[in-house]
Amino acid sequence: MKIAVLSGKGGTGKTTLSVNLFAQLNDVVLLDSDVEEPNSHIFLDMKEIGEIDVVKKYPIVDDVKCNLCGACGEICQFNAIIPAKSRVMVFADLCHDCGGCKMVCKQNAIIYAEKSMGTITHYKSGENKDFYSGILRIGEVSGVKIIEELRALSYNNVTQIVDSPPGTSCATVASIEEVDYAIIVTEPTPFGLSDMKMVVEMLRNMGIPFGVVINKAGLVFDEIHQYLSNEKIEILEEIPFKKQYARFYAQGKMISNEDEDYRMKIKNIITKVLGE
């Protein structure tokens, strides 16, 4: 079963929940798909066993064949290829590797070159825990390619947890495609609620079943319960706001290994979602 952990708003506790679920499960794979700023690895003491280079293609234009018709510039939605006065300019780091420019080039003047756009690091502990962390190179515009490669790592008969990026952008959509279930981590703040609403809309559009974990529960803002009850959305668990949890987090410790109440809540989420 593949489970995405996402939130809308950043900083609600996606990574904290992801790594704690990972810590309390066996036969499990964790994918850190927040490739713009991956941080699951900070909480995991695992052996690094390899690195995969992720490449993207970008166009190179043959100035001899090119007749400056402008079709490539018309189709590119990202201003990555721009026909100028006497040659076509390519801005490789803006390219999303969609293949459109080559497709529309009647002169056959476009070939693709490859460049490294990021890496995926594989970590392992014991026989039954694998962790993959993707990271996007600085200057690259989109992490979708790396997320797709993370998604393509196939594991049968294990639980896969996807630590997703915040927001509802292309990268988030890429990270939750093909998941069986999504856990929304929210917090009782106006931003937590507002951004969660966008995630709910996205998940409903994509037909992905989901439940909500309210993290930092007990803060003053309470419209979150009203919203969830109106929308008939299941609350999987409420994890109270505690300074001790923040302390463990700041020390890079696994909260579920340090605190019995917290561990019980994580186990309860696992039971509800996985039936284990």
Binding site: I82, K85, M89, G139, V141
Partner: protein, 119 residues
């Protein structure tokens, strides 16, 4: 010859814009009939790659020279590709004074890009 000036408002009396590709408007001065045409800079809405798009817009309006302040590396490459020269309007506060400084040959041409994003 046409000279574009990066401007904040849709008037030739506007203050200059210190942004190039995401400037609100371009005031385009035509020295043949000494008139301005003010166009909205549609490139300011681009999520990425605004500089290439902005330069393409200027080229579509047959602009020869643009008066702006700092430009980034992609903007500089695009300006060269479209054969548009850029001059630093320096201390000029508004469109008209930037233009008159240019016409008096007192502005420096921009030949290197401003890059503070990352190393």
């Amino acid at each position: 010859m046409k000279i574009a000036i990066c401007s904040n408002e849709e008037t030739q009396n506007s203050k200059v814009s210190d942004r190039f590709a995401r400037s609100e408007y371009f005031a385009i001065y035509n020295d043949e009939n000494e008139t301005y045409e003010i166009i909205e800079n549609k490139a300011k809405f681009a999520s990425g790659g605004a500089s290439g798009q902005a330069v393409r817009i200027l080229s579509d309006y047959q602009v020869d020279v643009v008066l702006c302040t700092k430009v980034g590396p992609k903007a500089l490459e695009a300006l060269q590709g479209f054969e548009i020269r850029a001059f630093d309007f320096n201390q000029s506060k508004d469109v008209k004074s930037a233009l008159s400084s240019y016409l008096q040959n007192s502005l420096n041409e921009i030949t290197s890009s401003h890059n503070m994003r990352y190393k």
